[in-house]
Amino acid sequence: MKQLLTGNEAAAEAAIYAGCRYYYGYPITPQNELINYMSVRMPQVKGTFIQAESEIAAINMVYGSAAAGGRTMTSSSSPGISLKQEGISYLAGSELPCVIVNIQRGGPGLGDISASQADYFQSVKGGGHGDYRVIVLAPSSVQEMADLVYDAFDLADKYRNPVLILGDAQIGQLMEPVEFKKEFRENLPQKEWALTGAKNRNRKIIKSFYPVKGELEVFNAKLQNKYKEIEKNEVRYEAVNIHKADVILVAYGTSARICKEVVRKSHQFKFRIGLIRPISLWPFPSEFIREMSERARCMLTVEMSAGQMLEDVRLAVEGRCPVHFYGRTGGGVPTSLEIIKKIVEIMPKNRAAKTLLQFAEVK
């Protein structure tokens, strides 16, 4: 049955469906619907809900529950996620599975509470210290939020690695019909590495500290092998109208929805605009973008930032075609008209693009 939920609520319910029974959070706009929903729902499924004394406390509670083998989650918005970075580095260093939701708001600093995509670097390059990666998934609808959060728990367990869900204020607060179609998980099997008390068995160790010279390098090599595996297996993207496209837009999350609007408007003018929407931001769909860059005349990256994913697109393209950028910052959301204007600017001689602009302006 379909329900009308916000992205935040859908993330919470999907976590419960996936068997998450340990949630720790600290309030911050624009993700408050998530923590609020969890406070009601967790007791109903005999789970643990704690409103921690701070974001830092919450992420370390996640560490504890993850070490004991539970499916666990925390959520916050940009300034709060910055506070959690030390904990995330420790989780990655201890190879502990968990899910972290970041409903991004404008920054830097306390910024504002409207939608932004300016935490891309922090999310995909490792926001804390050390050579680590977290899997980053970026939903662009409420249904996809539910689906990705559910999958995130499986990915986290499969690779013993934190998974970050990267949304923004718009996806978090937007209400859309959503359906939870996947299995409702309860009483999941115990993880063989989990710390459950060493009575009648040998002790197990969960740690990120390797003080003996050489040990840490061996451990890092193991991590890097794991990340290579993830890069090989877990790339996700959506390609729209990509065949024979002159211009390929590259955008994720909220920006991608607006780009889809542009693609739809372009149809009636026989103007070939395509869209690549990375769903996994790390691992990044570099190979597919590289392949497409050999066919398109140019690419245009659209973000709610000053140009962050742009760098990964350029790294993938390696100069095969020009990569342009349009972005808004500080809570600004691009409009389809702005994107069309940018396309005309980068393709001044394209008649279809101009007609499209005229149409869009009149309308």
Partner: protein
């Protein structure tokens, strides 16, 4: 069919619920719908605005660039959002609180929703008066569709409020009939 509605009023005038009822009715009728509350760091008495898109096709951007319909409950919201209406759009104004300018091609309906609701005995149902008016003009859903959703929202402790909400819906519908008569 695509209908883009911007709803605005001050916090407490029930725009959130109005839009939610329409969104739920759309969902129940198997239409695509997005409903986006765009709240900032608002103050009491200021403005709260909601973007509602209902369509028979997939909806990409939930943010409205140009509205087919504007439903406005107070003057500050009117000042802030009046320019978002499309040239031949529809405006429903709570004339108890909004004084409007002239828009040559916009269809404007002035409904004294606050007064009507107060006469019914509960000023809080002014939103439902507006909803009744909107339904009568656009006919996207029937009154029954909305009453179904209202009875879900007003279950349990709030059940007693259903009767006055039903009256408010009818008053809103009558208000439009008196324009066209």
């Amino acid at each position: 069919m695509t209908e883009k509605v911007i709803l605005a009023g001050f916090g407490g005038q029930g725009m959130m619920l109005l839009g939610r009822l329409l969104a739920q009715a759309a969902m129940a009728n198997s239409l695509y719908v997005t409903y986006f509350p765009s709240y900032g760091t608002e103050v009491r008495g200021g403005t709260a605005v909601y973007h509602l898109v209902i369509s028979s096709e997939e909806i990409f951007s939930p943010l409205i660039e140009e509205a087919d319909t504007l439903i406005v409950m107070n003057q500050p919201s009117y000042q802030k959002y009046k320019e978002m209406i499309k040239p031949d759009g529809l405006m429903l104004l709570n004339s108890s609180m909004v004084k409007c300018d002239l828009f040559p091609d916009v269809k404007i309906y002035k409904i004294p929703a606050t007064e009507i609701a107060s006469k019914l005995g509960n000023v809080l149902v002014s939103n439902i008066v507006m909803l009744g008016a909107y339904l009568t003009i656009k006919k996207l859903f029937t009154a029954e569709n909305i009453l179904d959703q209202l009875s879900i929202s007003l279950s349990g402790r709030k059940k007693d409020l259903l009767a006055i909400n039903k009256q408010a819906l009818e008053k809103g519908m009558q208000a439009i009939h008196s324009f066209t008569a």
